[in-house]
Symmetry: C2
Subunit: 225 residues, 2 copies
């Protein structure tokens, strides 16, 4: 038996990926490897929060820089596009970053293979983020095909598993899953804007607030401040 991690979690420092850390730690019986992307996002506070969450789990924390702002096209990376406020509905949001989760999963599969890890966990959610194509079950299933065909491990019949345990959960479900596992929700950051405190009006802040409200608890990230 080896002492290192067997699972990798793509950790943004937000609520969903932090709950994924708890689920992966529970499944593996030990700290997962945490992988965070520095992709030119405006909300760089994310990176500090990811480090805090990884520290809580005593996880090794790997930060990989990928400059997607080079091709712009999203409100999260292109300063010329405003972050929208006022709620999510219809269509694909301007906060969609082209191929973001494809890039994240591809890198995660590479790290998992190089480090001989068994699984990659991603906190995508098709309920609240139905507008993002790469948060849907069809996309995750397609990427399982990539793991099965494009990697040594896959060819050998033992592909790196891709886990998306929150894909069908509501934000309130996720809050409850986190509370039940004592996830460090007070360390998480969801806001899309780049301020020192959550703005309270962007889509991510609104979804988060609704999740805690529906779960019937206060958001510890707000009360702790």
């Amino acid at each position: 038996m080896t002492a290192g991690p067997s699972q990798l979690v793509i950790l943004s420092g937000g609520l969903d990926s932090t709950v994924c850390m708890s689920l992966a730690a529970e499944a593996a019986g030990g700290p997962p490897l945490a992988l965070t992307f520095d992709y030119g996002q405006r909300h760089r506070t994310e990176l500090d929060h990811a480090a805090g969450v990884a520290g809580h789990f005593r996880s090794e924390h790997l930060v990989v820089r990928i400059d997607t702002s080079a091709w712009g096209g999203s409100a999260l990376t292109d300063p010329a596009i405003a972050v929208p406020t006022g709620g999510t509905e219809g269509d694909i949001p301007v906060t969609y970053v082209p191929a973001r989760n494809s890039i994240f999963l591809a890198v995660a599969l590479g790290v998992a293979e190089a480090r001989s890890l068994d699984g990659v966990w991603i906190g995508v959610n098709a309920v609240d983020y139905s507008g993002y194509p790469d948060c849907r079950p069809e996309f995750i299933e397609a990427f399982r095909g990539v793991a099965a065909t494009g990697q040594r491990r896959g060819v050998e019949g033992n592909p790196v598993e891709i886990h998306a345990p929150l894909i069908a959960a509501t934000k309130a479900d996720i809050v409850r899953m986190g509370l039940a596992r004592r996830s460090p929700l007070e360390l998480t950051w969801s806001c899309y804007s780049g301020g020192e405190r959550p703005c309270g009006v962007c889509d991510a802040c609104l979804l988060r607030a609704r999740g805690f409200a529906e779960a019937g608890v206060d958001d510890p990230a707000l009360t702790a401040r």
Copy 2:
């Protein structure tokens, strides 16, 4: 009609991707966008050759840095692993970089979507590189599933197309295809090692030499020097 490129070619500066540039230019009737990855490869001479090839085609050349050496695991990025010499056979080579083509294709799909391009071209080849899982038709087909499910374009029924026109070609076929289209083969670089001239003994040099020999022509990259 727009004046910009409609196709993107993943360009390493080697023989295969340079012939892909010719094929994409021919299909589109104009210069494709060239996308090169700086992924911590030892053979950094590649990057200069890619720039030379892109210049030949008067293509816009985008270089995206992704530091895969952070997770090591390949002779092409990890200084602790020797580049093998003496021919390819059996098994998956140590020059395999975990998930490399997955990462390249994911980034290429992101750039293609952000820039409203119609197709991504990759010079993978299953004949001479049968040991690389991510050079096989099954892998390319799996990634088409990612383009179809994980992108705005795909959801709208108009996915970015992935072209792998050399997947079934021998190295001699590729040389002939290039010669027929006046591809700038004299500007290309294949050697895996980091010297100023091709080493002549690594797998890539041996495959290249055999291709030119079978096609019955001298390698212009050697004769031009």
